[in-house]
């Protein structure tokens, strides 16, 4: 644990006159589970957009495993092992659930495009194993029985689960989860929480943006609180939830 896996240095993002994120600093260590919370519009999603390369023009620096990744394209960042699950459900809606997963194996394919083009036996074998892997990935999120239905026709909660499974398919080192629990049922929520915990046990570093503070507190040993584009707190759930600034950010300033 000599070096943090991800270092964010003075990240600032402006939209015209609006500053969505200002001078944001954060170090994340390998295997850490970090919850990022904050009221609506506090800059959480913007933060993810910067890390995942969705926005490429901003101030500050992002260093991943000692190398600067700010300014790179999303696909280059993904190639380095950073996977992202989007806030609203972003899926290949016109493909089946299974196909959604297999499409995410792009980065971990062992055969190249030519082998795939000529349908070599190695490629065929890989296809078969990938299919099996995909089915395996569907098991823990409980989507195995939906493998052949169109992703666009899935109930909302399942979409979130699928998105999670897809992020896992890329075999990430760092996982950015943007509100994986928004709008899903209680049982599903339990599923997701367990899953995230299990991933954490596997050593995957996870950054979790979530509104459901209860769930975040449940999962993450470390919380970062954003308000108005600034980091206002960073620490254990107990410290954070009793922090006056945090409470004010959420509930408003108390009288007097």
């Amino acid at each position: 644990m000599a070096m943090p896996i991800l270092e964010l240095r003075k990240l600032t993002k402006r939209f015209g006159n609006l500053i969505a994120l200002r001078e944001f600093d954060l170090d994340i260590n390998q295997g850490e589970l970090i919850g990022v919370i904050g009221p609506n519009g506090s800059g959480k999603t913007t933060l993810f957009n910067l890390i995942s390369g969705y926005y490429r023009r901003f101030e500050g620096e992002i260093i991943y495993r000692g190398k600067r990744i700010s300014g790179l394209r999303s696909d280059q960042i993904a190639r380095k092992g950073i996977a992202r699950v989007f806030q609203s459900y972003v899926l290949y809606e016109d493909a089946t659930v299974l196909e959604n997963i297999t499409r995410c194996f792009y980065l971990i394919c062992k055969t190249n495009s030519w082998q795939s083009f000529f349908n070599t036996s190695r490629y065929c074998k890989e296809e078969v194993t990938q299919r099996a892997e995909a089915e395996e990935l569907l098991q823990p999120v409980g989507l195995a029985e939906f493998r052949d239905s169109l992703a666009g026709k899935l109930p909302y909660g399942y979409c979130r689960l699928l998105a999670l499974a897809m992020a896992l398919a890329t075999n990430p080192t760092l996982l950015l989860l943007d509100e994986p629990m928004a709008g899903i049922s209680h049982e599903e929520k339990g599923l997701v929480i367990n899953l995230i915990k299990k991933l954490g046990d596997q050593g995957i570093t996870i950054m979790l943006v979530e509104h459901d503070v209860k769930a975040v507190v449940d999962i993450c040993p470390r919380l970062v609180v954003l308000d108005f584009g600034r980091k206002i707190a960073d620490g254990s759930p107990e410290e954070v939830t009793t922090d006056r600034k945090v409470i004010e950010a959420y509930l408003g300033v108390e009288e007097g």
């Binding site: 015209g16 609006l18 709008g183």
Partner: protein, 234 residues
């Protein structure tokens, strides 16, 4: 004045609002609070007719208004100030205000309304010729509310006015809302910032996950520990 009877909303089979009933009286100031994703915005969208509820009824001044087109509802005096302000970026401040009065045919009334808004938000008067996109967040929020007022509403639905605003600006916007309400316009405020919402309104509803968990006068709600739990998950 406004009555919602067990409204349900589905997005893509997902139930976002699970049977909510709600009431706003004439000249009332009601707040709906709750964490994000609780379905607050969906409720406003149902009232203003942007989305149709899958179940339930909306009544306004003893007239059923669900299933009416948004412009029909706006014509009846329900004006929605949307979340994120949604100023028309390329229109000037003046034009943004004029858009608010789109359905208002009476020119003198529009003039009067404009006077009132400039009185309420003097900063807007200085910026009438600037484009909407050039305003700061707080100014945009004032413009959004001003634009809503231009329609001469009986009921103003305001969605998260504090979104992304600094506490100081939020404070200012809050004061203006109180002034507006005092002038006789009923307000249905949707807010995440619970303390501010509860301070301003006289009645409140608490939503989590599409369910109504609490309702009552703000005086009662302020003391309720449930709210803190709902928010911070403690």
């Amino acid at each position: 004045m406004l009555l919602l009877k067990s409204i349900r909303v589905h997005y893509n089979k997902r139930e976002a609002v699970k049977g909510i009933s709600l009431e706003v009286g004439e000249g009332d100031f009601v707040v709906v609070i709750g964490p994000n994703g609780a379905g607050k915005t969906s409720v406003l969208n149902v009232i203003s007719g942007v989305i149709n509820p899958s179940e339930g009824e909306v009544w306004f001044r003893s007239e059923r208004i669900d299933r009416l087109a948004p412009e029909k509802i706006a014509a009846r005096g329900i004006i929605h100030v949307p979340e994120g302000r949604r100023i028309f970026p390329k229109l000037t401040v003046m034009e943004n205000l004029q858009m608010g009065a789109y359905l208002q045919k009476d020119k003198t009334k529009v003039e009067r309304e404009l006077e009132r808004i400039f009185h309420l938000f003097p900063i807007l008067k200085e910026r009438t010729r600037q484009r909407g996109e050039s305003l700061s967040g707080g100014e945009q929020q004032m413009l959004a509310i001003g634009r809503g007022l231009m329609a001469g509403p009986a009921l103003l639905l305001i969605d998260e006015p504090s979104l992304g605003l600094s506490p100081l600006v939020t404070q200012h916007v809050a004061e203006q809302m109180t002034v507006i309400n005092r002038e006789g316009i009923a307000i249905l405020l949707v807010e995440q910032n619970a303390r501010m919402g509860l301070k301003l309104a006289n009645r409140g509803y608490v939503l989590t996950n599409g369910d109504l968990v609490l309702e009552g006068t703000t005086a009662e709600l302020v003391k309720n520990e449930e709210i803190r739990k709902a928010y911070l998950g403690l």
